[in-house]
Symmetry: none
Subunit: 418 residues, 2 copies
């Protein structure tokens, strides 16, 4: 079964945004065992879109469109796709109701053009959208299936996962299952070198490494007649990977993030954590607070951007700051120790560094970041040298801080990950 | 003059990589005043590529291809493009020499298939590649120009900047310039309604709205014979937008973010700010710390996730928490007031809410977020009801908090934005 992707949006053609939807949808289709031969981008132009849709309809079994479902005049994806599929637009009562509720909840006025979003092709399946006002659509006509999704990734992604993935899965008798073995604390090329023999000899299941910021994810994928059969193929490969990577593996669940794995560890070990951040300025705490229910283990955190704040809030000594500077092992360690004390927490992770673009010196260049974790009386400290933009340096610092936090807990408690 | 983009690579169709080349090339072409109507991605398949190239040749003046110039058997972009343009391949002596030097410098052995990369279409212009072994190619035939670029961004980007941009610029006497008028504190459909008459009557310049989280960006674009002439067309439209949106406009510079605009205001008014966050857990401070040099105005921030932390760090009264709860106007206001006092700052923005997915009640549902800004003795408080995922609720809360912070400063200082 073939699938083709058409992303609609002048902002993509103008290069204003990177088309991450295409990468997301392509990866999911590949996992579903659908063959994708074409991706296209067109602007909000009904003539060109119509032509492309007719071509796509003739050569692919499934056509997925993203974008152009907004309330404004130049959003014409739905109108054009319905026309190509020969379906008139009719109002969907439920969609109208949901749009009204969505706007009311936000206290935003409904303008006339919002109601355009409640129109759907006759006889289609409506994909309701709790994250925005544009419903998605699945329509079938003869052998062609057309799927329309809203452009914003935070609407498209959950709609695809929850409503489109199961639909596409039902079209495809063979199942493709995968597990994601997630590693932290190892680089991509080292991880790949460790499994090169597995990658080279692979058939079913396959193993593929994906580099993420501060993490490497190894996807094991198997094809079989049933889910059980597929997971039976995956199991020995997963055991092999766990044997090779040991504690570097923090989960095999695609939904589990590093911060979630850490939250589980904290819960299991009944430990509390706090954060003392300088250059990351709250992003580390922000990652921990991604986890619902973290409040049992994370009560408070500190952003100590100035030297005075490091002294006042964390009790870093003035002499240390004078002698070694704010970006030093000594300061990082006093921040970690002082943060744990101030919060009355078992653990504190501290980050201090030079995120740039200015402020670097020959001795302490931009990208130099010290991370220290005070864990039940012991200090674990790391010196890192990153490259890249300010935001990249900060993101890598957060990823390293979470990794060090996890490693410290594992060492201090002697516990093994599941 | 029209341009079309074809990216070749099975790894893009599989979703293994995000197609950042497309965004880069699109933006450059837009800046050059070239009209791009189509982008496509195909795999390393000569049949499908040939078909697509023939279509592209028939409808676009310039066709830019990226990827598929490597030394391996499945790299067939050059062979296929040369065939479609009716050019035989011949060896280029300079290319051969450069490949040999490139490999020697890296101490890598040259294999027979490397020499394939020295073959070029007869009569073409060769774009030598100091960053890799694949030379780029510009070929012309009749009215069509085809430009072939290597896929790796660190080879494609410098080759485009140094060799292709000047070539394209010489083809196109007209320039396209744009300004981005960025608004905060208004929704996309309301913003569009305000400018519908301008959008409907537009020709040159044009206005297009883009929705961002908590912001709306209006891009004004003009085409003219020179940059000066283009900006002269943009100026009256920008004045009109500023008249209509007033203080909602925070910048007209595409590079300036809301947090950067706020940092400029703080600097101008010599004010310091701090943050007191509950559900956003550091993300608000993280946005402020995006701005290099914010340390003069932002010294420290607090993440007070538990009630105890709100009492201990911010001095929120136990009675208030008991009587009204942590998510209430009263708590938000005490957090803001207490945060400013604790940090000795002129301003404090506080956020407290229920980010979900659990913890909501009928009276206080998930998505209820109070934001309060204490600014030079006065309190500005906002009650918001968001919907969507935990992360979406948190992102919207941060955007609203920044907007409220900006509005409070404008009100308290009576200053007008530039």
């Amino acid at each position: 079964m073939t699938v083709e992707l058409i992303c609609v949006g002048t902002e993509i053609l103008l290069g204003n945004i990177v088309n991450t939807n295409a990468a997301f949808l392509s990866e999911k289709c590949a996992m579903l065992g659908l063959s994708m031969y074409y991706q296209s981008v067109v602007g909000d132009n009904p003539g060109r879109l119509r032509e492309l849709l007719q071509t796509a309809k003739g050569r692919s079994d499934v056509v997925i469109l993203s974008g152009g479902l907004g309330p404004t005049q130049d959003d014409l994806t739905k109108e054009t796709a319905a026309e190509v599929m020969g379906k008139p637009l009719v109002e969907d009562g439920q969609a109208r109701k949901e749009i009204a509720e969505f706007m009311a909840k936000r206290g935003r006025a409904i303008t006339e053009n919002n109601w355009k979003q409640a129109l759907v092709p006759e006889g289609c399946r409506v994909l309701y959208n709790p994250n925005g006002t544009a419903p998605g659509i699945i329509m079938e006509e003869g052998d062609t299936r057309m799927i329309l999704l809203p452009g914003p990734p935070d609407e498209l992604v959950p709609m695809f996962e929850e409503q489109v993935y199961p639909y596409l899965h039902s079209l495809q008798p063979e199942v493709i299952c995968s597990r994601m073995v997630k590693l932290c604390g190892i680089g991509e090329s080292s991880a790949e070198t460790e499994v090169l023999d597995l990658i080279e000899s692979q058939q079913n299941p396959t193993v593929a490494p994906y580099a993420k910021i501060g993490e490497v994810h190894l996807r094991i994928t198997a094809k079989a007649q049933s889910e059980d059969a597929a997971y039976a193929l995956i199991a020995p490969m997963e055991r092999e990977l766990r044997k090779r990577f040991g504690d570097l593996v923090y989960t095999d669940d695609p939904q589990v993030t590093l911060e979630m794995a850490i939250a589980s560890l904290l819960e299991e070990q009944r430990l509390t954590v706090t954060t003392a951040e300088s250059c990351t300025g709250g992003l580390l705490a922000g990652r921990l607070v991604n986890v619902p229910g973290i409040s049992g283990y994370f009560k408070e955190g500190y952003i100590t951007y100035s030297n005075e704040a490091k002294e006042k809030i964390l009790g870093v000594s003035h002499d240390t700051l004078e002698a070694y500077g704010a970006v030093s092992q000594q300061t990082a360690e006093e921040m970690a120790k002082g943060g744990a004390k101030a919060a009355g927490a078992d653990i504190c992770v501290a980050v201090t560094g030079i995120a740039g673009p200015d402020g670097g010196t020959e001795e302490k260049p931009v990208g130099l970041v010290y991370i220290s974790c005070y864990c039940k009386g012991k200090l674990y400290t790391q010196k890192n040298q990153y490259t890249g933009s300010r935001s990249k340096i900060r993101e890598y610092s957060v990823a390293s801080a979470l990794t060090l936090l996890r490693q410290s807990i594992l060492k201090e408690t002697g516990c093994k990950m599941a």
